[in-house]
């Protein structure tokens, strides 16, 4: 009786905890389901704070979410198909896109390795479930420990799989905001010589 209960508990535990991943790569365009898309955008913004807040709201309202937001930068995740709309939004808020640098990475190998790790552990788990029916109490306890261990590993690898699929589904976008151009424009001398000497860069160089 006790042995039967142990078997039932072990099988129930395993069946309840091994669930398929919720994120599905099938939502991606054909041929791109294994690509991670990263984008860096450098934006000249007249009002960084307003644009930063606007971008966070834009991400939330367009099937994405923001990861980090400050006056200097916004990090957000958004479906890859939204990237052109993101650029249009920035420009509609008077942001000037100074740099727009996309990059992709192939996640296929990582995903296959992860799925293989899940698969091999799943096979071991199935084998143990077959054997547990004919095991004595001592062996059942040992099997239960092994089941727990395998289950933890399967959950770990399924978590990684979900992350990979999430990476393929959502573009990772980092938008750096600046209120000024990356360099001061051509030198424009004043009619008054001492005013020409008032300059941040000269001030920083003057270490005497």
């Amino acid at each position: 009786m006790k042995r039967s209960l142990l078997r039932i508990a072990a099988v129930c535990f395993v069946l309840a905890s091994v669930a398929p991943p919720s994120v599905n790569a099938q939502t991606q365009p054909p041929g791109q389901e294994f690509l991670s898309y990263r984008l860096f955008v450098y934006v000249l913004a007249p009002d960084r704070e307003a644009l930063s807040a606007g971008l966070a709201n834009w991400a939330d309202g367009n099937d994405g979410y923001f990861v980090e937001r400050s006056g200097d930068q916004v990090v957000l995740r958004t479906p890859r198909s939204n990237v052109p709309a993101l650029r249009a939004y920035i420009e509609s808020r008077d942001g000037v896109v100074l740099r727009f640098e996309p990059a992709t990475a192939d996640l296929r190998q990582e995903l296959l390795n992860t799925r293989a790790a899940v698969s091999s552990r799943q096979e071991s788990l199935d084998r143990i479930l077959e054997l547990i029916g004919s095991a004595d109490i001592g062996a059942t306890l040992a099997f239960e420990q092994e089941l727990r261990s395998l289950n933890q590993e399967i959950e770990y690898y399924r978590g990684i799989e979900r992350l990979i699929l999430n990476d393929s589904r959502y573009a990772h976008v980092r938008i750096a905001l600046t209120s000024e151009q990356s360099s001061i424009p051509d030198y424009l001398p004043s009619a008054f010589s001492w005013i020409n000497a008032i300059d941040l860069y000269q001030f920083l160089k003057d270490r005497s």
């Binding site: 200097d72 600046t178 209120s179 000024e180 151009q181 990356s182 360099s183 001061i184 424009p185 030198y187 424009l188 004043s190 009619a191 008054f192 001492w194 005013i195 020409n196 008032i198 300059d199 941040l200 860069y201 001030f203 920083l204 003057d206 005497s208």
Partner: protein, 151 residues
Amino acid sequence: MKNLSLRATVILVSVAFLASCFTPRAAIATPDGFSPYTGKGDVRLISPEGMRMRVRIEENEPSQSLDFWATALRGHMTDAGYTLVDHGTVSAAGGVWFEWVAPVHGEDWIYLTALRVSGNHIVVVESAAVEALYRTYRPALHAALPTAQVR
């Protein structure tokens, strides 16, 4: 002949000494957190993080009012590409201050410029730091601005 040359030397040294006594020099109360360090005649102060402050004297030539110089400086800085983030007056001393933002190695720096006209001279105060550090010392800098003067 020897006496004559000695007398000339004494006169020259005396003139130089008197001239140095009457040469206008910049002065300012040291803001909290800053320490003075030796510079080339200007007042120079530095914080433990390396944020610097400089106070110097310029000739008020052509002689103009504070408003004139403030407008000239503001126009020049704006034309040069700086973005004005804040400005105000130093009420007790009759001066003006501007805070500009400009990029340095990809970071936004705040550049403080303050002016005060004192007779034939203009006191110019400058300080700058990356934005976060500047905000830390901003109250101390602004507290010191009314004390900028020609001595």
